[in-house]
Amino acid sequence: MSKKKFVVGAFDDEAVLFPAVKKVRMSGYKIHDVYTPFAVHGLDHALGLRETSLHTAGFIYAITGTCTALGGISYVFTYDWPVNIGGKPHFALPAWIPIIFELTVLFSAVGMVLTFCYLCQLAPFVKKHHFHPRATDDLFVMVIECTAKTNVDDLQAFLTRNGAVEVSVQEAETEWWVGTYDKEQRLIKDTDFGVA
């Protein structure tokens, strides 16, 4: 686990944060992450993050639930133990719709929440490095990863110029949870950039 150096800039208004994100990225710095107290819509696009595929996962879990219910009940009522209930057909599909629906929803919801926790590495007793304690209160905290070429003082001045109310330099261990988005974040020169 190597230690990495980060320049941390805290903003107190999302309207200031957006242009700052744009400028920082235009200048070729790599934003490690932005920590916000609530979901700031469009920030993920501004950072160049790709859309999440959580929906697709949810759909796959839902289909799994549907198949489990349909398969399970069919197996039980037509093969394993076909009970004669008032002479009604063994394969009584309309009567199974409620349970099929419930299991679809159940599988999808549980699966999605677990996937969400896995992807974000969230679990009880997990403790992550916090760059600024007020990031969950009222500050929008931009964290920029330093490379060998980065001039830390310049970068700090650059952030202040662009509206950061607090600037600091921090070291953090790049543990499994730090989760950089190397693969996700496209570099600015590769793509047309616009604040969504």
């Binding site: 920590y35 107290p37 609530f38 979901a39 859309e51 349970i99 419930e102 974000c120 009880p124 969950t136």
Partner: protein, 491 residues
């Protein structure tokens, strides 16, 4: 950056001059302060009710269902009435958090957290009744389909009672996940403010290590939206399936196709009433009037008068069909056992009619919708009425059926039946007191999200721009001769 623009004409959802930090302060304050005397009194009263309930259930488990005054004819009495009543109450939370999210109703943010908590506790209470009605409660796992050594003998998947098992357990699980996933960021906020080590540790565990990364928020939004999409049909399915417990039978008074929509409307009706009961108190006790505004109260009262009237239509339709079908059993149930004030249970029917259909009509008046005393009083009345509705449906259909020789004598609950009901009240309020003390009762992150579009102080700034815009618009579109200015007056 707020791309959403909200008109000045809309009432602000957050009153007062607020910034993000102030929102955190206001909502987290009750968690960090010592509970008041009133809180302790309320908590101990609830816990005592819970204990009495536990003892009542102990009697029932030890001596059998005979401890209740059910009989061969009235096999479902208070227990199933209470079950349906609690499940109904458990409908408002997910409706507020899911359906109103899909409909983009901003006012849900102030009330969704408490309403969802209420949902979860209400469903917990509801579940107790069918489980203990089984009699041999230690065998209750027999309802789950698992490969067993008894054949295997499987449960009957064609039975509405089995559908209920799946519906209620799915509903409970999904509501819990939805509620908790929304709580994670707010627990993070509480953790980062914590002064003591223990508090930091406990809220740290509860927050799952949330730090508010952009990517996490992106996924969190996606998760909330899809869960809302899943929960919306789920809410409707749960009470539909509960109604099928009755509707698929051949008992007069139960055997009606109108039941699913009628039950769902009734569930939303009673759920909103219970939400009102709790929120009117919470906003006062925890000083949250600026977040749960009169506008919120009014919006919920509108839902109450709407759903109350839908339920009223259903009652009248049932009566009409009881006559129009010319089926003498239907006619007897609806026109004698229920609508006749002088039949043994006529009082219950008319109590229901008064509480559910007539009295909520008061909410057609704006002044009444925004009056907290009227709101609180009506919320209790509605819940009494909804309890009567379930009692009427269950007992008046059962006590005199096709065979006069098995007509039951008057049914009145035993002390242990009442004790069980009281116990679920204890469970509900004990949980709710704990929730209101240790959990953020309002979704902090969601309030922050709407603050700049719907907060009073921010709207005031937008206001002048908007008014100017109207005038410009009007002058642009004025008639050439200049004396008709479209739009200027109507705004």
């Amino acid at each position: 950056m707020h791309l959403k623009y909200e008109s000045q004409l809309r009432e602000p959802l957050v009153d007062g001059v607020k910034d993000y930090h102030q929102v955190t302060e206001d909502i987290v304050r009750p968690i960090e302060a010592k509970p008041s005397k009133l809180w302790y009194i309320g908590f101990f009263v609830s816990a005592s009710c819970l204990l009495f309930g536990v003892y009542s259930v102990y009697r029932e488990v030890t001596y059998g269902i005979g401890q209740w005054n059910l009989n061969k004819t009235i096999g479902w009495g208070w227990d199933i009435t209470n079950f349906v009543w609690w499940v109904g109450i458990g409908h408002a939370g997910t409706l507020i958090s899911a359906i109103l999210l899909l409909f983009r109703q901003g006012w849900r943010t102030g009330v969704n957290r408490a309403a969802e908590a209420m949902t979860i506790f209400a469903v917990m209470c509801a579940g107790q009744f069918p489980i203990f009605h089984m009699g041999r409660v230690w065998m209750c796992f027999f309802i789950f389909p698992y490969p067993n050594t008894r054949g295997p003998v499987w449960p009957n998947f064609n039975s509405p009672l089995m559908w209920d098992v799946f519906a209620i357990s799915t509903y409970f699980t999904v509501s819990l996940l939805f509620w908790y996933s929304g709580l994670i960021p707010d627990f993070g906020t509480v953790r980062d403010r914590a002064k003591t080590k223990l508090r930091k540790k406990l809220y740290g565990i509860a927050s799952f290590g949330w730090v508010g990364s952009t990517k996490h928020w992106q996924r969190h939004e996606a998760l909330s939206l899809v869960l809302a999409g899943l929960a919306t049909p789920l809410v409707l399915s749960v009470h539909t399936i509960v109604s099928m417990d009755f509707a698929t039978s051949v008992i007069p008074g139960w055997h009606t196709t109108i039941f699913p929509p009628y039950f769902v409307a009734g569930a939303i009706f009673s759920g909103f009433a219970m939400t009102q009961t709790l929120l009117v108190v919470i906003r006062k006790v925890f000083n949250l009037q600026e977040y749960i505004t009169l506008g919120h109260v009014e919006a919920m009262n509108k839902v109450i008068v709407l759903t109350g009237s839908i339920v009223g239509c259903a009652y009248l339709t049932e009566l009409f069909m009881g006559w129009y079908s010319q089926n003498k059993y239907e006619g007897y149930t609806f026109w004698y056992s229920r609508a006749n004030l002088f039949s043994p249970y006529g009082w219950a029917y008319w109590g229901m009619m008064t509480c559910n259909v007539l009295s909520p009509q008061i909410f057609w008046f704006r002044k009444m919708r925004r009056n907290l005393f009227v709101t609180f009083f009506m919320s209790v009345i509605v819940n009494v009425g909804m309890w009567f509705e379930r009692f009427v449906i269950i007992v008046t259909s059962l006590y005199r059926d096709y065979l006069p020789s098995s007509w039951a004598v008057y049914y009145h609950p035993s002390i242990w039946e009442i004790g069980f009901y009281l116990g679920t009240f204890g469970l509900f309020f004990t949980c709710f007191f704990l929730f209101s003390k240790y959990f953020p009762t309002i979704a902090i992150a969601e309030i922050k999200y709407i603050l700049k579009t719907s907060g009073e102080s921010f709207k005031a700034k937008v206001g002048s721009i908007e008014m100017q815009g109207v005038e410009e618009f009007a002058s642009e579109h004025a008639h050439i001769d200049g004396h008709v200015v479209a739009g200027a007056h109507s705004h």
